[in-house]
Symmetry: C2
Subunit: 503 residues, 2 copies
């Protein structure tokens, strides 16, 4: 991967001055076109060998273009806040919206590479990190992000000379740390690991561009000219109206038996039974939420279900058992303008809870394979790839130790009609029923198909769906509470006890 980078590249000062002047103007033009079009965002990853001019190049880019629309992030040690979320969380937080440029100085590649070089993770863990990165980058490209990955390179002798030069100069001595020399000793191993990493994460849509870092003029022109060419290519392209459909259809059961139709929706429970059970399970949930071990994990619960199935009511019975400081209720409706400027999972990543907190999603990322699929708000290719994207997403949460619980609240078509009519009769409930609810009801079958596909494709061994028979609200609420309690208990048993709480 580094053949060209080993050469002694050189650009003279005169050539550089001439080229730089042209480049700046053209880059600024392109940046404004990007801003104007607002069709896609640009994400620039800066990676590579220490001392190869990464900082300098990032500064140059900000100098050449309008820095108000460039967002530069350096990802070093994660903060407390960040450590309590999955590793990718801080990158999602920092994604540039459409029309803007993000520069990630060190990103998702840094930790896996360094930890593998230091032998802190096994080959298997390294491979898994690569797989997660492949999934993330593919998703970003599929979502239209222009992902540019620059790898700044120095040969071993070049790096040695560079570090010595920095150290010899009183003005730059502070930049060379003991860690730099420690890494320098590991150069060969570092390159071996990087070689593999670059090979496995260089794809047609997001190839690594290796930038020889020894000559400042050369590396600046290399990055600048490549950035310009990439921007212009995408900006000047008229996106074709119709994309080829490369996804086969999914299968619907020929006998109409499915996970929903197989449910016995009417489950018995009297009001008296309910009140007894409610007290019991709310008490248990409250107790679990105060367990010190919950301070090293958190819970994400997803509530999906038929219109009128009682999602809100069930959530209220859960939250009323909890201290209001420790949970967040996230009602999911149409995305805001800010959210539409990002990949669709972005608006869910931003709500991931800290340790010791709960996040209750009233509707969720599953909208992608439900309403967006049915209403044609995204293409078939988009929702077909979403099953894997969602599984990957939830798996990151799970691997981070977050307790993930997913409920589908199901009622029958008749029961829905009864509830809709009652809502219309009762004045203070009338706001809960809209023309859209009646329209959705006409698409009952399409929704049923979509729900069954969703359950089949995203109910996994570790992250199963809980289907809740909800014709009887009492039964539904108790089943939800009981499931959450069991999930909490299991998680607490796995979780190490934290000596000092962070509340």
């Amino acid at each position: 991967m580094f053949e060209s980078a080993k050469l002694k590249h050189h650009v003279s000062k005169a050539v550089y001055r001439r080229e730089e002047a042209k480049l700046r103007e053209a880059l600024l033009d392109a940046q404004y076109d990007l801003k104007e079009q607002r069709r896609f965002s640009v994400l620039i990853l800066i990676a590579g060998v220490e001392g190869a001019g990464k900082d300098e190049t990032v500064n140059l880019l900000n100098e050449w273009m309008d820095p108000r629309h460039i967002h530069t992030y350096g990802f070093f040690e994660p903060s407390d806040e960040e450590r309590e979320r999955p590793e990718h969380w801080r990158f999602w937080r920092a994604l540039p919206p459409k029309g803007e440029i993000g520069i990630f100085f060190g990103a998702w590649h840094t930790m896996p590479i360094i930890r593998r070089v230091m032998d802190e993770i096994s080959m298997g863990d390294f491979e898994r990190a690569i797989e997660e990165i492949q999934g993330l980058e593919k998703m970003l490209c599929d979502e239209g992000v222009l992902l540019l990955k620059y790898w700044f390179h120095l040969s071993k002798s070049q790096q040695g000379k560079r570090l010595e030069a920095l150290q010899a100069d009183a003005r730059t001595r502070w930049r060379v740390t003991a860690l730099d020399w420690k890494y320098f000793k590991l150069y060969d191993r570092f390159i071996k690991v990087c070689d593999r990493f670059l090979r496995e994460t260089s794809t047609g849509e997001a190839p690594w561009i290796v930038v020889p870092g020894a000559d400042p003029h050369f590396r600046a022109l290399t990055v600048g000219q490549h950035l310009l060419a990439s921007l212009r290519e995408r900006l000047d392209e008229k996106p074709p109206k119709r994309l080829p459909d490369k996804t086969p259809p999914l299968a619907a059961p020929s006998d109409r038996l499915n996970v929903l139709s197989a449910l016995a929706l009417d489950q018995p429970m009297t009001k008296a039974q309910y009140q007894k059970e409610l007290e019991k399970w709310q008490g248990r949930l409250n107790l679990a939420s105060r367990d010190p071990r919950f301070q090293s994990t958190s819970m994400v619960a997803v509530f999906e279900g038929t219109d009128g199935a009682g999602k809100g009511g069930a959530i209220r019975r859960v939250t009323s058992a909890l201290d209001a400081r420790w949970y967040d209720n996230i009602p999911v409706a149409a995305p805001t303008e800010e959210e539409r400027a990002q990949p669709y999972l972005w608006r869910f990543w931003r709500h991931l809870p800290r340790h010791g907190h709960f996040a209750f999603f009233d509707r969720s990322w599953y909208g992608r394979v439900l309403v967006e699929r049915i209403e044609g708000l995204c293409s078939e290719a988009d929702w077909m790839r979403a099953y894997k994207e969602i599984n990957d997403f939830e798996n990151l949460l799970h691997r981070h130790g977050i307790v993930v619980v997913k409920f589908w609240l199901a009622i029958s078509k008749d029961e829905q009609l009864r509830r809709f009519k009652r809502r219309q009769r009762i004045p203070f409930k009338r706001f809960k029923i809209t023309a859209e609810d009646w329209r959705n009801r006409k698409k009952w079958e399409a929704y049923e198909n979509a729900v069954c596909d969703m359950v089949d494709r995203t109910s996994t061994n570790v992250l199963p769906w809980t289907l809740v028979e909800a014709n009887n609200k009492y039964h539904a609420r108790i089943k939800v509470l009981r499931t959450l309690c069991h999930a909490m208990d299991a998680a607490l048993e796995r979780s190490p006890k934290k000596s000092a709480g962070n509340r």
Copy 2:
């Protein structure tokens, strides 16, 4: 992944008869349209739980359609021939050409799953196998193959009942082996491994379709109707003329210094020196080829280079050192009709050597990123993804222990002109120079860029390119021979001694 499959699906005999009659006719129609269009091939993977009706369904498909255009393969224990090639080799051999249907009964998924269930491979190896499969399947889909993956499922109790029923009947008793019962005991672990496998290899373009296997009518209709819908969707689609360009450009160095221009093409070597060296290195290569340890590996050498750089001459100096029974010379020109009906790597997979054999490729798979790129014989997206596909391919060879060596023979533009002119003068060499050679010469710069991109993106730590300065033929030939000898020596040292040769 198996929620729906656990339900008690059932289709009555009457419904089945009616539906099957319609289905057969429509499937046959679709198959003939496929044959007529010859636009894509169909590859059906059959996987899942033992006893879930895999055999029966495969037989049905052959019964319903024209079996002359269906190629069914069962992949059980690999043969001797197959074991001497990388694991994927036997699948490549069996790929259906455009217009035809291939059914793979057990395929690349089988061994990783079973070996992981049996704890014969680590989680890391399992992840690596998944990554290789993801790469293979993505490549097939990108090459236009309609890849349909059916997973036949039974719950644990259904499987137990099924095995007992087969055993109770004298006519089917032979079908139940001790191994089946052994696997049955591992059911829960098996499902856990499969759940993960299916989740990680279900993509938008190649989702797993889980088929509940307990009811024969139901499962037959499920597969038949899904196959039909998938075929029709692809057959009836008019491929859009223009695809969106989602690949950024690559970077060319602004100072014109590159891995080719950095070479000192004129290397000294007199005829006398050459003859001495030739004898020495040919002797060593011959000796190495007779080493018993070479019987547990093989060699693949790729010769690429400028027109007129002396690839053929260099290969002849290598082969004249070897016993003609143990090597194969593969000159690569435009693909044949049979080869054009397959993914582009297919014609190279078929030539992989057995143990103890050499394969010398005079031009190779690198045509994809050289001539095909420059002449626009494939789209930009196609050659951009090829770098990773080629790296993945060579890595499979390398991981299988095959010695892979890659040469680029480079001559200067002036030297090429001299050689072209001489070829035209010498009658017996005139056939070696065509109008195409002169045309290619006009694209010298485009080729130079493409070669540099190729070297940068496919020269890896384990599989580097050897750049050969070839203005002096003597030097070039000796460098080739010496490099091969060193590669052989290193490989033999790694290779275990085989007690009995297989010659």
